[in-house]
Structure formats: structure tokens, C-alpha cells
Symmetry: C2
Subunit: 344 residues, 2 copies
Amino acid sequence: MKIIVDAFGGDNAPAEIIKGAIAATQEREDLQIILTGPSSQIHNCVKMNSLDLGDIEVRDAKSIIPVDVDPFKIRHEYNESSMAIGLKMLAEDEGDAFVSAGSTGAVVVGANLFVKRIKGVRKPAIGTIVPGKKGPVLLMDCGANDNCSPDVLNFFGLMGSIYMEKVMGVENPKVGLANIGVEPNKGTDLQRGAYEVMEKNDKINFMGNCEVRDILFNAADVVIADGFTGNIILKTMEGVAKMLLGSLKDIYLSSAVTKLSYLGVRKGMHGLKNQFDTKKIGGAPLIGINKPVIKAHGSSNAEAMKNAIFQAASYAESGAIDVIRDSIPSKRERISPEANTNES
Amino acid sequence: MKIIVDAFGGDNAPAEIIKGAIAATQEREDLQIILTGPSSQIHNCVKMNSLDLGDIEVRDAKSIIPVDVDPFKIRHEYNESSMAIGLKMLAEDEGDAFVSAGSTGAVVVGANLFVKRIKGVRKPAIGTIVPGKKGPVLLMDCGANDNCSPDVLNFFGLMGSIYMEKVMGVENPKVGLANIGVEPNKGTDLQRGAYEVMEKNDKINFMGNCEVRDILFNAADVVIADGFTGNIILKTMEGVAKMLLGSLKDIYLSSAVTKLSYLGVRKGMHGLKNQFDTKKIGGAPLIGINKPVIKAHGSSNAEAMKNAIFQAASYAESGAIDVIRDSIPSKRERISPEANTNES
């Protein structure tokens, strides 16, 4: 199992990326890693941090694509960046999966361009695992696409369902449409249209609308939304968790009594904090691309990168992509007959 | 100050509504309340619960509009419901404000129909106060409208800014556009279009995009979104808070040691729980309607209704509606010159 890792994506690159890669190979001896990026910078970083690359390979790349440039620049100006090189290597089977903590937009554009979509997939989706009370929940799309049609959401439902089953081991996952109420007429035209087509899709276990309030209570295993809404849900969750856990910390630090009280519940609190720790969750797969591409959180440290690398390996090992490929109806037998005219 | 209260809106009607009304008049002697609904049922409830209406009046209504019927039925079939009667009384100046915990859709349709919008307002918005770390934040629209144009969002910004200033006492409130990132090109065409017009609106203190992650950190005083997105943000916040606070409770109840630990932090925890308690926050104003209409949370108990009634009084006393009316440009001097052609 060979994982290609962009050593220069993310706020804490390259040191934390390299450390994460090293940790991954130490924990899983079957993993081989190839780091991409300006090799002199990689080797300098290794030296400065007294690290040992071991069997980890380095593939040179001329440049690094910054997080704030137009993502489409990966096509030409940053065609030789650590991210682009990594994606091209994946496309040419020089590895089984690719991981980057760099610009989400650039990963999406680059993956579409270099690795390409599974035949029949119109739009790939970023799937994020969120920590439900009774287990993980897959939320998608978390930002790969601005505009989606009902038919595209239906596709997300199918792909997400397969991912949840094959990679996360959830049998017959419940697929829900993120919405503001359970009745079929709730939401906008997009949700109402998606409800209609998803209801008729016998390849998924469609439960109807999933109230966003109930996502973390595992009302659904897979929650489907357009890219903007999915991203809004995810970031709102992050903000509330950060605020509440921060307020908790303030309460505990406020006096000697409260600090003492913390000792009694330290284990439970630690568990709660871990549950919401994006570092432990690992990265987000770009589902619908021909080969496994994982976008790790921009602020990933070594532990987060290690977990993102493990997730990439799981995705590659699961065979989920082959199942998605086989599940996609040919042009003649579309999931919804009006698909070609419904495209937005 | 006379507040009209729908005694039959909400899950806990009529008992909790009536109790809330009584509590409100006891705390504020200047408040007069008129309850609407089938008077025999109201008087029965008072008797069964050993309550004392005091000076609270009762206006009879023939029916009650259920929460799950088509909201448009308030126009004809439920034209004489407790909600419709209350709104019509407000329209005819028989009170200064109206409060209902009933169907949100019906309140919106009914308010638009009977009380009508402030002249020049195309769409009213439900504004919800959320508990930011450093003080209240106004989020709107939380569900009154499906589809919004950039110009409508701009209007929400203006109305919300005035509400925040006049009713909540925040000087020169920062108005932000709910989004997934701070750069002006983030989000969908709607956010990008709204950013453009709001940036040119010199009647508001527009800060640009407000990352939804930062809403509870008071990045903005007023956060603007279309009705679906606003509702999604609100319900996601409610879900995460409920889940985390519930998990906290589980941690504390798990053993004798943890229960003991709770005593040390009880005050702080209580404060945290209160912060997120929708009962304490009160109801949501429907901003843009000619007179004060407050939608209380569907699950409101007596305390929540009491606070919603106080909020209705504050809204009426503030003069905010007059300021909104005076701030709206005439047809010739639109905030954005393309307004008439941009309408979606």
C-alpha cells in the first residue's frame, strides 16, 4: 500500500506533514509513503528536526500552491506544485492514494483534472465524518460544489452509501437529506426535488429528510446536502463545539475548587474533547474521483496527518471505488429518467 | 402597553401560554394582555389549573390552526383561528404587539396578509437572537423565505441593523453575511451578489463575510442569510448544543465521584446551560412587518412565553419599526439601482 503525501499542503507544512508520515509508517509497516515537494526543503526540514525518513521516498516538485490563490491555477501556473505532482503520480498509478492538507479548491480542481472522475459521475463530493453520539456520520458534500441539482444530490446519496458500507463497515446505511424539517415539502426547490428522486432510488436506504438538529444523534448514517449547505453545517458544528468546549475550560480554570472538580471528571471530559477533535477524525475523502484522494484539515498536525494517511489506506483497501463504478447506471438506465434535462 | 397572545399556539398550549401571560403581567404591571382562542377552553384551563387571570382579557376565536397543515390555510379555512384573530386585532390597533408559539409558516403567511409589510419591504425575515460568547447576536432570516435575491439580503441587513440598535441597544452594529470563508468570492452566486450590494450600502456597518464558525464568537452583531441557510445554521447550533450538554450530563451522572465533582462547578455549568436555553432567549421577531409580531419557540413553556411577551413589548417600545419605515428608500432611490431587475 503506497500513499502519496503532499508535504507542503497545510498551515503546519512541511514539518508536521513529514512527522505524520513517519508516524504512519512506524505504526503500519505495510505502508509505503512518497512525499512530494521541493526536495531540498524536505531534506532540510528532516535535518533541522532531527527526523529519520526511513524508507519514505521523496519526489521533487518545483513549487508549492498557496492556499489563497485561485484554485484553477493548479492547471497551469502551479502545474508542477507538490499537490499537482502528487495527483499526477496517483493518476499514473505510482501510488494507491493521495493526501494533502492544502487548498481544498485546488485539490478539487486538480483531482478532477488529473485523476478524473469515475465514469458517469458528474460531480465529486467532499465527505466529512462527523462524530455522532452513537458513531460516525458521513456528511457530504462539504464544499466541492457550488451548485447542485436534485439528481446530483441523488448521486451523492449513492456514493456516500457505498463509502459508508465499504469503508466504514456500516450495513445498509440510512441516507438522509439535510433539511429544516421532516416533511417532504420542507426546504427549497432543491431539497423538494432531491426528495422526489431519492425516494425512487432503490439502490439506497433513503429515510427521507434528516433534520440537521438530529445529525449528531445519528438520525442518518449518511447526510446529503449541496456543497454550500454541507460546508455551512460542518463549520457551524465546529464553531459551537469550539465555543462550548472553550467555555467549559473557562469554567474549570476559574478557581481552585473548579480545578479540583475537573480531576473527578477528567476522563469523561477528555473523551468528549477527543470526540470533537478534528485531528483524530482524519481527513475528508473526495468521493467520485477515480482513485482515493483525501483532503486533510488545513490545520493538521502530525497526528491528524497520520490519521488522514490511514484513512487514505482504508479507502484504497476497501474497494469502494470499484463498487461505485459498478453501481453507476449507464446513460440509458439513469437513476432518474429526466437526469439529462435536470442538470443545473 | 397591550400584548395580544395566541393562547393556542405551541406544543404546551393553552396552559403554559396562559401561565406565561399571568407571569408577565405580575412582573410588569404596565403590561396588559389579551388572550385569543376558544374562550370556553381558556376558562376551563384556568379553572383546572387553579389560575387567576387577573386583568387579562379573553377574545373568543372559533378555531385553532394545527401546526402541520398548509400555512396558507390561515387565509380562509382558519381565518377565525386564535392566530388569525390575534393578527387581525393587531392590524386594527387593538394591541401593540402579537405573540404566538404556533406554526411558523402560518404566522408568516398571516402576518403578511393581515398586518402587512412595512411599505417598501419585499420580504420580512424571522430574526433569532443567538447566545454569542460576548453577548447576543441577531441571525436572520431563520425561515420566513425560501428564495432570496442579493437585494433582499441587503434589506435584511438594513432591518436587522436597525433592530439590533433600537431594540437591543447595540451601537453601530456590525453586519456580516453568513458564509463559509471570509474572501468576497466565497459561497454561491447569492452570497457573492449580496456581498457586492451590501458593500455599497452606506446605511449599514458591513463587515463583509462572517464565517459561520465565528458567529458565536461575536464576529458580527447581525448575521444575514437566506431563510433556508439561516434556519440550517440555527438548527445545527441547537443540535450540537443539545448533544454536548447532554453528553456533559452523562459524564456527571456516571459515578459518585463525578456527581461530587459537579458540585464544584455547578454554578458555572448552570450559567452555560442558561446561555443556550431557548426558553430564556424569548421568541423571534418577524422583522419587516408593519407592527411587532413575535414567533415564540414551538416548545415554549410559561417562562419562554413570558420572555417572548417581554420581547414583544421591547420591540413595540423601541420605535424600531418607525426607523425601518423611514430608512427604506423610495422606489426612485433604491439601495441598489438594479434592484427592480434583480428580483428573483
